[in-house]
Every structure is written in C-alpha cells, then in structure tokens.
Symmetry: C2
Subunit: 195 residues, 2 copies
Amino acid sequence: MTEAVPTETQAEIADAVRKALAKHGYARLTTAKIAAESSKTEAGLYYHYDSKDAMVAAFLEGATGFLKRQLEDLEAADPEPRLREACDRLFVKFDDEPRRRTNIAVMELLAHAPHNETLQAPLLELESSNLAVLEKIVEDGIEQDVFREVDARGVAAFLLAAASGSTGFYLALGMEDIGPPLHTQAESYIDSLLV
Amino acid sequence: MTEAVPTETQAEIADAVRKALAKHGYARLTTAKIAAESSKTEAGLYYHYDSKDAMVAAFLEGATGFLKRQLEDLEAADPEPRLREACDRLFVKFDDEPRRRTNIAVMELLAHAPHNETLQAPLLELESSNLAVLEKIVEDGIEQDVFREVDARGVAAFLLAAASGSTGFYLALGMEDIGPPLHTQAESYIDSLLV
DNA sequence: CTAAAACGAGTGAGTGTTCACTAAGCAGGC
DNA sequence: GCCTGCTTAGTGAACACTCACTCGTTTTAG
C-alpha cells in the first residue's frame, strides 16, 4: 500500500483526467485529450506518470477517496438523521453538473473493472467503506431502539445499490423526472425501518 | 423506428459482439475481437454492418429487447407475487455467468451513453419499459388493496435502481457475499408495501 | 565568489503498432 | 454469367509511448 501523496503537478494531471473523462468517457479517453485539459503537453504527462493507466488510476484514487470521505464526515450524530444525511449525499442531484459527470465516469470505470485490474482496488475499497459506514449507522440505530431489528448489512447494501443504480438511468440517461420520486422513496424506506 | 429483423448472420455477429464484450469490455472492444468470436473474418463483418458502432447497436438492441421481455412475460397474475417474480428476475444471480457478463456489458454501455448517441435510444427504451411494468404492478396492487397507497412510480424506480445498482458492486466487483442479503432486503421492502 | 556541472521539469518531433474500414477478387449457386 | 457472401491484403489515421534536446535552477569545486 504505497500511499504516495501526489505532487501538485500530479494532482493537476489527475484533475485533467477527470475533465477529459467527463467530456469523452473512458472508452474514448486518450492521452492527447488528457493533455488538452491540463497545462502540459502529451509527452510531459509521461514525466509524472509511467502510463495512461497510471493516470486513470490516479484520478480514480482521488475520486474514490473523495466519495469515501463524503460519507465518513457526516454531521448528524443520532442514527436516524445520520442515515438521512448519508442518503442525501448518496443520491447525486441532477443539476450538480461536475459531480454528475464524475459519478458517471466512476460508473464507467466500475463496469470496466472486471477487465482492468488496476481499477479494482480503489473501487472495492470505496464500496466496502460506504457499505461499512451505512451498516454501522443501522446497527447503532438498532442498539438504540430507533430502528427495528433488521439485517443491517442488507439494508446498507440495499440503500447503496439504489443510490448507485440511480446514477444509471437518472444521471446517465437523463431521466430527470425520476430523481425526486426516487429520493422521496428512499426517505420512505428509512421511515419503514423505524420502530 | 426501423424494426429491421436481423438476418441469421447478423444475429451471429451480434452474438459475437456479446462474447467479445464479455471477454474484453467496451473500452477494449475491437472489430478483430468481434471477428474472433464469430465464424467470419474481420472484413466479412462489414458486409453485414456499416460500422463497428452499428454492430454494437445491434447487440444492444438484442440485449435490451431480451431484458425488456424478461420483465414483460411474468407468470404470476396477482400484484404481490407478480412483483416478487419481477424482483427475482431483476436481481441477477452471481453464478449465472453469461447473464452476469452481459449485464456488466450493458452497464458499461449505459455509462458511456452520454458520449455516444447510438447507445441512448435502446437503453432509454429498456429503462422506461421496465419502469412502466413495475409501476403498473404497484398501481394494480394499490387498486386491489393489497399494497398501501404508495407512490407507484417512486417504488418502481427505487426497486429498479436497487437492482441495477447491485450489478456494480455485486457483479462487477465480485462482492459475492452481498448478493443474498440484498435480495432478501428487496423482499422485505416489498413486505413493507403490503397493507 | 564564481564557473562549471548536475538536475528537475518540460517540449517537439517522431516511432512502431493497432485500429476501423476498404478495394479487389474469388467460389459457388441460380 | 452474374449475384451473394466472403476473403486476402491492404490504407490512412489514431494511438500510447519514446527520444533527443532545452532551459532555468541548484549544487558543487576551486
């Protein structure tokens, strides 16, 4: 586990990967397009990274790190509002354009992960972490008698699946009108967990 | 809407696309790999399709058609068992290898859809159709007083999102142990809809 | 204190390979 | 003898990556 804090330039390139992915998608990502989004030339990228794959991996580590922290740094302390806050962050808003694009990009990398080993580790860590955070909240809620005696892991997985699934038809396909009822339904689902 | 029933050879090529996608993913899909999965040479593919994009589109139309029909041809008549049956088909089993790979491939195409127009129409039709089927079941259930007065569209979207989301961490990342509790939780969610 | 050497960061111009796609031709059935 | 279906052999473009070199800064040596 080489943590290797990226230099400023490395971070700039990783951000260029994000922009290029948002514009063109992973399947059409090229080093030329990454360079175009950064202040460097194509060859210059290779001074900081060994390969295109390494650049994508750098972006992915940054993105998954951010998504992980977003769910770890919840403000509410009590289980119920805490779970609602988590849900709020998990269901990305349609008009948050950069975040929407980034989520779609991560989804494309996720779908490609079975065919590219370097993508697997950060994604696995992201999902495991998110799952653990949600599970912990539900467990606490059960202990404090605010939630019914449900399967904490199942509930966590169900919520997480619903949130990531919404990225597909809501964010990627642009089915705008489905977002609000979806989020409302997630809230109702949480209601149904209460004692 | 040119329905254009594919010839036998065209269908064989579309199936070769499926196999190639399962093996290599969309980002690494090449015409050479498609040819390798079929009985034709690379150039031969172009006698039947104008472009690589057209071949992918042909696969996608077949795949989405199948996924649509799978949810339209439910056996149970009454809302509750019907919704459970729909759920059963929506949550793909881990050990159903070809289906699993196909679902992942469709997910990769879905994530790439914002950057490739030819992918959008069949995917939009698939999701709309699935959503409509689920919504109808819930609506019927409400009318027949077997489900509570919930937001049918929201419930449909929530179930569909959970199912497609599970493709990500369950199927693509290989988190095998999360599948069963997820499916169980979907069942519990349906329980919570009952009057 | 200064000149030379070394180094970090980057560029412009390639290189070999892979890719999507095409042109020309050929076998066999009507 | 002419379509239909397919092949062999390309073609130019795009791609990931490399190389020789530059230019400013920093380190070292006398």
